[in-house]
């Protein structure tokens, strides 16, 4: 236990060396145009399966290393058959949420029964993100758009730089290192998703979320799972990580009870 | 000018063939974009071992003499010439001795072991990590280009004549896409019986 309150919340000197107090005492940023993420959400993960797409994100909104809000929903349904999963800055998430809501409302003005497809929503989002990065005022997020379009699963990624790509398995943030390898064990290349059932996809997602909770310090054991098939989108909330084993923690210095 | 390994320029390459090895280098020595010399050979031989040294020219000259000295001592003590594998370890340990103030070089070694008559090549980083390769080794400011050439031209079991053509084409075309290498080239084709040194006609720009 660190006995000096001044050192609380700072990197440990015995591990990272002496703390550079210039960081704490730094003057205001040279410009305030460019920002940094403040309240953040961690990874979003997604995988295609035979009849659709499954996506998950936990419910934590962190303030730096503080677990600030523990019931933040980060999967946003748009229209009948699209869900947008957002990681990164939460205020930008809420702005994106409002943009998408506005988009949906304006689409419904005509009242012609027409709905935006997943690819339309993705195209819109990617243009917004690219425009904002080009104004040097980015929306600090990495977003995954999941849906079903013309009976086929749709899955694409866009981030604060406007970089886009799609793949049968996708993840943002830490998920790219921890979850994607697990997801690719099952769905390695285009077409492999045809051999994955919804039930198995769900087990896979649960496993990935558990691994992320074990190793990602900015995660929480409560998450939402979105399943999108041609029948529409289904959002399952307050899913908990189960059957965990934390025995290992007891042996690690500074992790559990062990101090010295 | 900030990277010492790229101030003077230069490139070298070694390849394995059927019962033969080849080692080749360019002849340029420059000071950044300015060409200074067109007869700066980067291959040195110690008995039946050949050493290619690219990188900072002053370190090339220093190390070539250091290895001359060390192989002479070795010969006096052992009463025989040093073998390629032994020499490779000598290079490695010599470089690692200067782990925290290294010679800015990229050495490559080629030769035929006189005991089992097997071809041997290897390369090193500047602090002596050995890269044992069965096919080819490249080094110097044109290393990217040489990797591309060697990876596409080289094939296993080349006879001495074909090996000469392969290493020459790999080197020449690699050099022409590097501003800091060129100005002539030399190729050594080493077999058990003989060593043939050839000077190549190259572009002079």
């Amino acid at each position: 236990m660190e006995q000096r309150p001044v050192n609380w919340g700072r990197p440990r000197d015995d591990i990272y060396g002496a703390y550079d107090h210039n960081i704490h005492n730094a003057a205001k940023m040279p410009t305030v145009h460019t920002q940094q993420p403040i309240v953040t959400g961690t990874s979003v993960i997604a995988v295609k399966f035979d009849k659709g797409v499954m996506m998950a994100a936990d419910n934590l909104a962190s303030y730096g290393s503080l677990a600030r809000f523990t019931d933040q929903e980060r999967l946003i349904p748009v229209g009948k058959d699209t869900v947008v999963g957002v990681s990164g800055d939460i205020s930008d998430l809420q702005y994106v949420e409002r943009l998408l809501e506005q988009l949906e409302i304006e689409e419904n003005y005509d009242n012609d029964g027409h709905e935006l497809k997943s690819s339309n929503i993705f195209e819109y989002l990617s243009r917004v993100f690219y425009q904002r990065r080009s104004k040097m005022d980015p929306l600090w997020n990495a977003v995954i758009v999941a849906g079903v379009e013309d009976g086929k699963p749709f899955l694409s990624y866009v981030d604060l730089l406007g970089v886009t790509y799609s793949s049968p398995t996708l993840a943002t943030g830490f998920g790219a290192y921890l979850a994607v390898p697990l997801l690719r064990q099952v769905v390695d290349k285009e077409g492999d998703e045809d051999n994955l059932t919804e039930e198995d996809a769900r087990k896979l997602i649960d496993k990935c979320m558990k691994v992320l909770f074990y190793r990602d310090a900015r995660s929480i054991d409560k998450y939402s799972v979105a399943t999108i098939t041609s029948e529409g989108a289904k959002l399952e909330k307050n899913v908990k990580c189960v059957e965990m084993n934390w025995r290992f923690a007891e042996d690690i210095k500074g992790y559990g009870r062990t101090v010295a | 000018m900030s990277n010492p390994q790229e101030i003077n320029g230069g490139a070298a390459v070694a390849m394995v063939g059927k019962d033969c090895v080849a080692i080749a280098c360019d002849l340029r020595m420059g000071s950044s974009a300015l060409g200074v010399s067109n007869d700066f050979e980067k291959i040195f031989n110690y008995g039946n071992v050949y050493l290619g040294l690219t990188g900072l020219a002053t370190d090339v000259l220093t190390l070539s003499d250091v290895f001359k000295f060390k192989t002479n001592l070795y010969k006096m003590r052992e009463e025989r010439a040093i073998e390629p594998q032994t020499f490779a370890n000598l290079v490695s340990s010599t470089l690692y001795e200067k782990r925290f103030g290294p010679y800015f070089v990229g050495p490559i070694v080629a030769g035929i072991n006189s005991v089992d008559n097997k071809p041997f090549i290897c390369g090193f980083d500047l602090i002596g990590c050995i890269d044992f390769a069965k096919d080819f080794i490249v080094s110097g400011t044109a290393s990217d280009q040489l990797y591309g050439m060697c990876e596409s031209l080289w094939e296993p079991g080349l006879e001495a004549d074909d090996l000469f053509e392969t290493i020459s084409q790999a080197l020449l075309n690699g050099l022409d896409r590097d501003a800091l290498s060129g100005w002539g080239a030399v190729v050594y084709i080493i077999t058990k019986e003989k060593v043939v040194k050839r000077l190549l006609k190259t572009r002079q720009d």
Binding site: H21, S167 | Y147
Partner: protein, 244 residues
């Protein structure tokens, strides 16, 4: 121990007016990959690997980056993927508008000039890409145009761009333009004459170039997509590359 003693020296004496620690948003990233274009007598090919990366992560194993933008023109802008995609999309739209306004095909040479203007238009906030354009010229001959990030361009017989350009380009000099090769018929006194390669030979060269680049470059691999332009239109060929 008092609190004064516990505090480190710098915490007590440093002032808020110390030098700010600069943290700037970087609007660019590198998405790896490599592209290659070769022109033949009556065809042109433009090939690219299908791997998309950031850092050491493979984002996607199949993310195409060579596109047919209409009028028998194929293009790829390799480097920063967001800029590349926007450039290609804008070029496609410009070609559409050209049709609406003039009701005729856009010549490849005009398309190249257009790309120059699109790139130079962002001279002070450049598209971070190496662009290659492939198609047929007015005489039906294969043509490759290559551009630097701010629009300098040149028509060439062949060009490699992107992450492994430095590995592939000397190979192309040697095998397409016969650089450093002599004519065997003259007993090595004359340079190898420049001749057109057949489509089969070109496709084999492209595959060899990419499998070599895959072997030695970590950002290259997964798949190879080749777009082939002939007078009959644009055709696509896919072949796998190593995925490690």
């Amino acid at each position: 121990m008092s609190l004064q003693e516990a505090l480190p020296d710098s915490a007590l004496h440093s002032t808020a007016s110390s030098v700010p620690i600069e943290h700037r948003f970087n609007p660019y990233s590198d998405n790896g990959g490599t592209i290659l274009g070769i022109a033949g007598k009556d065809f042109a090919v433009l090939a690219g690997d299908t791997r998309n990366t950031t850092g050491y992560s493979i984002n996607s194993r199949y993310e195409p980056k060579v596109f047919h933008v209409g009028d028998n023109v194929v293009v790829s802008a390799n480097g920063f993927a967001a800029d590349g995609n926007v450039l290609v999309k804008r070029l496609g739209q410009q070609i559409q508008w050209y049709h609406y306004n003039h009701n005729k095909e856009l010549k490849l040479s005009s398309c190249a000039r257009l790309v120059q203007h699109m790139l130079y238009g962002k001279r002070f906030f450049p598209y971070y890409v190496h662009t290659i354009l492939a198609g047929l010229d007015e005489d039906g001959k294969g043509a490759i145009y290559s551009f630097d990030p701010v629009g300098s361009y040149e028509r060439e017989q062949c060009r490699a761009g992107g992450a492994a350009a430095s590995l592939i380009m000397p190979f192309l000099d040697n095998q397409v333009n016969f650089k450093n090769q002599m004519d065997p018929a003259t007993n090595g006194t004359e340079p190898h004459p420049i001749t057109y390669l057949s489509l089969e030979e070109v496709l084999q060269l492209v595959k060899d170039a990419f499998s070599s680049a895959t072997e030695r470059h970590i950002q290259v691999g997964d798949g190879l997509e080749i777009l082939i332009v002939t007078k009959d239109g644009v055709r696509t060929e896919y072949s796998p590359l190593k995925r490690d």
